[in-house]
């Protein structure tokens, strides 16, 4: 019983500390004054629960394709949902006429190009991607 308690405590503490290194970077347009976001704030932006930056600029989230490892990582680490749960969330929003999901791009390069082109854009790319022309955000956990 004590071992089970210790194991559960260890797992809970590991989860509270943020879990594994996600292997991705969150990027915004260079003109965006924001430098960091909490995990919850980031999730709200990508689920379109919050639609504007502090200065009123429209938030334009951009996703990677569904089957990619970086998208799976983002869903798990930031949205804390499985891919299926994310799809169910967007189906509910779409067919209720509430909103549509962020556009998807097929590569890190395409996401970076979208973010460079749009002032309110926010995306995520794999950790090894070049940050030229965009700004990487610190994600507070």
């Amino acid at each position: 019983m004590t071992r089970l308690f210790l194991l559960l405590t260890t797992l809970l503490l590991a989860d509270a500390a943020g879990g594994a290194e996600p292997g991705l970077r969150v990027v915004v347009n260079e003109a965006n004054p924001v430098t960091s976001l909490s995990r919850e704030e980031l999730a709200d932006l990508f689920l379109k629960k919050v639609s504007s930056w502090g200065d009123g600029t429209l938030v334009l989230p951009v996703d990677q394709l569904e089957e990619t490892a970086v998208r799976e990582n983002f869903n798990r680490e930031i949205l804390r949902k499985s891919s299926n749960a994310v799809r169910a969330y967007w189906q509910q929003r779409i067919f209720a006429g509430r909103d549509i999901p962020p556009p998807e791009r097929e590569s890190d390069g395409a996401v970076l190009a979208f973010v460079r082109r749009n002032r309110g854009a926010i995306g995520y790319v794999s950790a090894e991607s070049s940050m030229a022309g965009v700004k990487a955000l610190t994600v507070r956990r």
Binding site: E40, D44, K49, V50, S51, S52, L58, L60, V62, E66, R80, K81, S82, N84, A85, R87, A88, Q91, Q92, I94, F95, A96, G97, R98, I100, P101, P102, P103, E104, F114
Partner: protein, 375 residues
Amino acid sequence: MRTSAAMRRVTAPLLVLMAAIAPPAAAVELQDGKLSINGYGSWGYGATNLNDYLVAGHGGDFDSGDFALALTSRLSDRAVAAAQLHFFPERTGLSLDWAFGEWRFSDLLRVRAGVLKHPFGIFGEVINVGTLRPFFLIPSSVYGATEISGSGVNGLAFSGVIHPGKGWELSYDLYGGSLKLHVEEVISKVLQQVQGTLQPGGTLEIGVEETKYVLGGRLIASTPLEGFEVRLSAYGTPIREENGPRVVVGPSLQYTGEAFSARLEYFFFHETYQRAHAAYAEAAYFLTEKFQVGARAEIYHTTPFQAPIDSSLFEHRELAATFNYWFDPGLVVKLSFHAIDGNRFAFPVPLDDALLAGSLKRTTFASIAGVQFSF
């Protein structure tokens, strides 16, 4: 009538074919995400031991296919236009589900005007989208032709969301205009029976009734427990309504987790001619990543005010189980079994012949197999 039946014979297999070949793909996204095309559909076969029950017929029924296509366009940072066409050959033919323009002042205030879905309960806006629920059939007591949930609102709506912190989220909908309700005149039918005016061959038809000058709203509280939310929905006709005042009110509880989901809803409906109670509870669980099982209990009762009469046509009690295989979140096959007591939704066709002969039986067993998809 012949043309309609022939059309159904052609369209149902077409819808099946569409369902079968529909790839589990994402929506079509155009113009940098400013235009999105989505759709959903379903087809099912249902059979019963006795009475017809919704899509399930005595002797088997293959005619339940439907399909819808939705277009959403972000016209500018603040303006959105959207429309959805729904083709349901067995019930409504080709109809406009919604078509509206929306202006987004902020997250706290969005205003939309046009033909809107009814923001009501858990499923009011997505009644026909089968991939958003465990059972092939939506709970009929609340979302069927009982005048509780509307099929659409023509008018104006306000909505918004607030984040008070600590994991809470509060959202609201307020709407006004005319409400379209699916109606089945069971009280008139029973009064005809009492008065001895039934005609051989007569039956119950589902019609669409418009209730004008409706005001309503819905509050949704998403709790810090991820996936758990509480809803309160209400609408009425406080200003003017041809058939007298009408009020509908009720709470909804919903939990949607990765493997387990559960819902509980109750609604009270009161108008000049009747008072009704409708409730259901359902739960579903993914035994594996693809295979889901679910159970549902449902109850409905209406009391007419015109005369002190009671009838099994005023009652519905149901226990149901479903076994689903999800190829993808957008494509599922479902097999469900239903044990029904009461004739509110389960009755023979033509109904009047059974009432005249005194042969109406109140217990029905139904099984339904079908496919539902969305993209």
